[in-house]
Symmetry: C2
Subunit: 456 residues, 2 copies
Amino acid sequence: MKKRFILLGLYSCFGFCQSTDEQQLKDIYQQALTNSECYSWLDHLTNTIGGRLTGSANAQKAVDYTQSELQKLGLDRVYLQEVMVPHWERGAKETAYIEISKKKISVPVCALGMSVATPEKGILAEVIEVHSIKELETLGTEKIKGKIVFFNRPMENALIEPMEAYRGAGDQRGSGPREASKYGAIGVIVRSLSLRLDDFPHTGATRYGDIPKTQYIPGAAISTKGAELLSKSLKVNPHLKFFLKQSCKKYEDVLSYNVIGEIKGTEHPEKIMVVGGHLDSWDLGTGAQDDGAGVVQSMEVLRLFKILNYKPKNTIRAVLFMNEENGVRGGNKYNEQAQANKENHIFALESDSGGFTPRGFTIDADDTSLAKIQGWKPLFEPYQLHLFMKGHSGSDVEPLKSDRIVKVGLKPDTQRYFDYHHAANDTFEAVNKRELELGAAAMASLMYLMDQYGID
Amino acid sequence: MKKRFILLGLYSCFGFCQSTDEQQLKDIYQQALTNSECYSWLDHLTNTIGGRLTGSANAQKAVDYTQSELQKLGLDRVYLQEVMVPHWERGAKETAYIEISKKKISVPVCALGMSVATPEKGILAEVIEVHSIKELETLGTEKIKGKIVFFNRPMENALIEPMEAYRGAGDQRGSGPREASKYGAIGVIVRSLSLRLDDFPHTGATRYGDIPKTQYIPGAAISTKGAELLSKSLKVNPHLKFFLKQSCKKYEDVLSYNVIGEIKGTEHPEKIMVVGGHLDSWDLGTGAQDDGAGVVQSMEVLRLFKILNYKPKNTIRAVLFMNEENGVRGGNKYNEQAQANKENHIFALESDSGGFTPRGFTIDADDTSLAKIQGWKPLFEPYQLHLFMKGHSGSDVEPLKSDRIVKVGLKPDTQRYFDYHHAANDTFEAVNKRELELGAAAMASLMYLMDQYGID
């Protein structure tokens, strides 16, 4: 460290101090790639604990485990933040089949998160295939009433950014059941949000919004191969029937927690910088890419600062948010408390796009701060991060309000992210140790630079 | 296409024609991501045919299959180029164990490619652990004679570029048995060239060079976990013994082929541009990342040009090289024939670093050509390719000599490449369809630009 301070005197610092910062990033990467804990934390979160659905016993185990691991890092403070969260359970495994003149062909489905159950004996009805919510209006009640609406608009393969393809198709899952209900549908089947053709159904939250509870209809996702089969079958047999049975249920809200670890700032303890991911996951897999990766990377950032003996100017918090998947209650609660305590947040970084090789950052900031961060690109060049663009940060930090705050999302390679997203194969094996570590190092590097030169 | 030619008139072309080329790349990517064949070709090469060790029946099947698939593309010419290749076989599965006071602990090993067998009953000897070939000299015959030399220098995790880490450790495998033999060792165990700790031994060629055949000693790779165990055991029991049995054998050279498909140039048919990968693979897995990916991407480049009705100015050849892994006979033969036929090669592009998300290209060219290619970066920006650096092209195109030739290697993300490289898990599942297609599109885009504006 000494050598660095000497060098500091020789260089002027415009935006960043080349040699000091280069060395600091080198140290961060060196430690992250040779001496990390994040992969073994992820192993525990996924293989020992498992899927961490909000409100579940596993989610509580994840709270306890991460709190205890943070406590081992010698931080200034580790604490829990209470938050009431939804409690939805999938119940027994769903069943579904296509029925064509008494022949039944099973297809892989799963209930959408927060969906209601079917009646106990299931629903059996004709299917109407649509490709958009708008199409419901065109078809009208006459053609929809009593049927199962099948949303089958695929994610667009031709888009280079899978995230864009996801957002382009996501309304079918989020709003499909609510909107189809308005036209008298008795259930909804949604093509899984994935760019692959395979047998995995992908869950994810649906929102009934403000329609009366009596009008809630069950929604399920069908695997992409199942969707192709159903669509082809409908072309030949437009009057085929579809059977769906699911027994998911929403219970009373329960108490849960955001887990927070903190290093106090040496110069501006009142200025707070957040790095985070979300602790909860869907229940089909074990939430490794989404978002065990982001959780352990955030913890690793604090760990790296401790082992490098880096003493931040500002207070740095790792926040492991609860309930991103079906409510964002943790993110909202964190903001509420920040307002109540009149906390001054200057920066928030979230990792919730998977643990693949990092490619850069998406930046939600005013033009001055955006330009400042983009000015650091040369420092990231040796680590092959090139994307520093305006964009969405993360669902958990998005609610965070402050006078001036920069919010950033880690941007990993996401070409295969949606192969795993919300599905049974989102397990430990899907995450590569080096890629995970490179992400943690990129995050720590950006936190360091923001701490040194961040918004004025 | 018409619209494009109109636009062409409106723009001056310095280095490239922005709107025409932007549109051409867009068309290439669109087709590659929505209408490719490469993934199903790879499925056949790996799952139906399997590992394609040079000189094996499977390698011949791969020749027949790719020739027949190329013939379906409506190219101007598809042909085979004869090449005599080595024929080495692994034989029965290898066995190895650590013996500590009569207790035997099995460890995963595999013979290095081209290695000789052990005597039929195996070898059992004390082990001497080293970390470099230089260390052999320091130790000398006295300490090495009669022992098994264990090369245990890991690939360097702290390096950002796994390829660099691979090259940094590769001499142990390539030269370890040859060099250890000079000091009287009776066998060599090499730590697998992988950045992961796991149970897969990774094979790869070793070279005895010009030492007498009577001095060839057997070489095997041990899994990284096995290497850790052996190293730890040696610290406690320096006189433990290691048992190795392998029955691999080198036979007479056999006749094999490079497979070549060609689109004749419309303006300069005498100028030749090559795109290629290698058909052969190691035998433990099914050679999906190494190098089934490169083979099917090269075929896809020609297919994309055909379906886009792109008529190249120069002659474009896909060359599927035989025997990259243990001899590079295909690459050398291709060059020999090119010289004999006085062919004028202006460009060669190889994909032999895996089928992961493409990040750019490594360029082996003079400064003028390098700068020209780097000038195309803005065209690749929308496709998230950023790395355009001087570097190695590929083992098969490296031998190719011509008056002026630019040689390039596709540079994919390689963070997880060495998890699979030369090991039993290099199978179809390791390759993601989109990532493979993005690589093919990047290759086709560069071929297009080189064809339009290439050297001079």
